[in-house]
């Protein structure tokens, strides 16, 4: 078996709040290969924090512990900040939810993509610019030269997410973390972006961690799925095997989804057991 791109063992993240320590993530473990791994959970399940912790981008107030956080041959746990700055963008990329907020409002989008290239590759500004334009074209933006000069507030959500993808892929990372990357988009645009992600990931052989609250979306898009509840992974299985899920929480999620081909009078309410 080929060694995994990313290896996580017993990840724990806690916050010091006014009423005592709060454990956002309690012992998450998984491996990531060249596949699409989905992490599904409700808000507060710790899925976003897991993604951030991999890149060591958790908020100041968070304490991160893990038995292992390994990117190939590099230990991410105690790597110095300078090393992390090299890794971010170059080996791991992060796509965030809403391009309205995750792009710098006063810099042109092309510039932001070019910056991502320039940080990791020595070269002239012209070189970075042409690379950025090429990337914009690769994410299927028509007239990339003109879009290069536009500002984030001048574009639609779908276009903004393409920019985000371009920005994070331009330095050719091995792993991409998509944190609710399609949650702020219209349904039709969502499918386009997912297609784009699919194409990018398979063409370049990346590992993708797709974080979402939408189980339905994840089961059709990803290869493997992790279900998270209140800070730990309650179940891990192949996307195709979801219907045979064993854990009551996963079953509850599956039952609660409306089905157009088998309508029910009442959707069952999800039960939550604190012991899970």
């Amino acid at each position: 078996m080929t060694p995994p791109l990313l290896s996580v063992r017993d990840l724990r993240i806690s916050f010091n709040s006014l009423s005592g320590p709060f454990d956002a993530v309690r012992g998450v473990s998984f491996d990531l290969g060249r596949e699409k791994l989905g992490i599904v959970g409700e808000s507060g399940s710790g899925k976003s924090m897991t993604g951030r912790a991999i890149m060591r981008l958790t908020p100041h107030a968070a304490t991160v512990h893990a038995e292992r956080l390994q990117l190939g041959d590099l230990n991410l746990l105690n790597a110095p900040e300078k090393t992390m700055e090299h890794i971010r963008g170059k080996r791991i990329g992060l796509i965030m939810q809403d391009p309205k907020f995750s792009l710098n409002p006063v810099v042109s989008v092309g510039e932001q993509v070019a910056e991502a290239y320039r940080i990791h590759t020595k070269g002239s500004a012209a070189e970075a610019r042409s690379k950025a334009v090429a990337m914009l074209d690769a994410v299927r933006i028509r007239d990339p030269e003109r879009v290069y000069r536009m500002y984030p507030h001048e574009m639609s959500g779908g276009m903004g997410q393409r920019i985000m993808i371009a920005m994070m892929l331009v330095s050719e990372p091995e792993i991409l973390i998509a944190d609710e990357a399609t949650s702020a988009l219209d349904v039709t645009v969502r499918l386009e972006i997912l297609n784009l992600l699919d194409e990018m990931v398979s063409k370049r052989g990346l590992g993708l961690i797709f974080i979402s609250h939408d189980l339905n979306l994840v089961r059709h898009f990803c290869d493997r799925v992790l279900i998270m509840y209140r800070g730990h992974v309650v179940e891990e299985l192949k996307a195709g095997d979801l219907d045979q899920a064993a854990h009551p929480y996963t079953r509850g999620l599956l039952e609660a989804m409306p089905r157009i081909h088998a309508p029910r009078r009442r959707l069952p309410v999800l039960k939550r057991d604190p012991t899970w």
Binding site: N104, P105, V106, I119, R162, N195
Partner: protein, 353 residues
């Protein structure tokens, strides 16, 4: 599944310029109204005196005929609205009347003393912004730690110190005791009047003439009053900068930038700071107005022959023509500064284009 290409963003809007012009018109009307109210206010102030202005000129022992004559000369026998009309028309001609002291036109005096104050305030704003902004950024980046508290303390002291007192303390320490800076006035006495008055800004004029002795003397004389003036604005600017930076550092795009691999320094200056640049420009413009206010006190302490000293001298002898003129000019300046900072904001922020 099939791919669909993205539709282009809409073409740049040309209709926006019409909206912009009407907005501009609205601002213009608003400014004009405020200006008019300002003129009314200064007129009222000028007429508020409990002392009879005629008596102030002729003295208490004048006979009836002289009194009436002077009253007519001053135009004070006419109904108040007419007086206001005369006031307005004189204003448009730049006629502020004459000073009590020398009988010269107020306008001439103001033209003479104004550059000195502008020079002082400009040096002060460079100091204030040049020190205040980096301090604010530093405090925001080190939030909660010692550096942050230290900067906030400095800012707090700046808000609480009487500017005239700190000026005096500065003079005592740096001039009388240490001899590091010059004393009162714009230059040492033996250099006074040596440099021709080209721009009215002694620093520039001395440089233009190549007169380095005068230049350095002027520098040593301006550095302390400008620093004292700057002190209060450093307090304000650093506090606001800190607050702006903190707001930016909490935004999502900062995380995205870090996720790209931008270094901490890059994030601070190329990303967060870039977003507050425009707001800072407006803050600095407004602070400039505050400096003009502080100049009134600082010029008195340092014997700086500027606008502020001119005004305070007039206040002491009750020269209302001067007081009215100065108040009006400062008011107009403030309105202009507000307008400029508004326009700068709208002009520089790409989001509003």
């Amino acid at each position: 599944m099939t791919h669909t290409t993205v539709t282009n963003a809409p073409a740049p809007r040309k209709r926006l310029s019409r909206k912009r012009y009407s907005k501009f018109g609205k601002t213009l009307i608003s400014v004009a109204t405020t200006l008019f109210l300002l003129v009314v206010l200064t007129f009222v102030i000028g007429r508020l005196m409990p002392i009879d202005p005629v008596t102030a000129v002729v003295g208490p022992d004048a006979d009836r005929a002289t009194y009436l004559k002077v009253q007519q000369e001053l135009g004070l026998d006419q109904p108040i609205l007419q007086q206001f009309g005369i006031f307005l028309s004189r204003l448009f001609q730049g006629d502020f009347g004459t000073t009590l002291l020398t009988g010269r036109p107020v306008m001439d005096d103001i033209a003479r003393v104004f550059p000195a104050t502008i020079e002082l305030a400009t040096v002060a704003i460079f100091l204030g912004a040049g020190i205040g902004i980096p301090l604010g950024v530093y405090a925001a980046v080190n939030r909660g730690r010692f550096a942050d508290h230290a900067v906030r303390l400095v800012a707090l002291l700046g808000h609480s110190t009487p500017i005239f007192w700190i000026g005096m303390m500065g003079l005592m320490l740096f001039y009388a005791n240490l001899g590091w800076v010059g004393g009162s006035g714009r230059v040492d006495i033996y250099y006074e009047g040596l440099t021709p008055d080209i721009t009215g800004f002694l620093l520039i004029d001395a440089l233009l003439e190549g007169d380095m002795d005068v230049f350095w003397s002027a520098v040593s004389h301006i550095i302390l009053p400008a620093s004292v003036l700057a002190y209060a604005s450093i307090a304000y600017i650093s506090r606001i900068t800190r607050s702006f930076m903190l707001e930016q550092l909490n935004q999502e795009y900062i995380i995205a930038a870090r996720a790209k691999g931008v270094s901490a320094r890059g994030v601070i200056w190329r990303h967060a700071f870039k977003n507050i640049r425009v707001q800072l420009v407006t803050i600095v413009a407004l602070s400039y107005g505050g400096l003009l206010e502080g100049a009134v006190l600082v010029e008195t302490v340092f014997g700086w022959p500027g606008f502020g000293q001119y005004l305070t001298n007039a206040l002491v002898i009750g020269d209302m023509n001067v007081v009215v003129a100065c108040t009006l000019i400062i008011g107009c300046l403030f309105i202009a500064l507000n307008l400029i900072s508004d326009l700068l904001y709208k002009f520089l922020d790409p989001r509003i284009k």
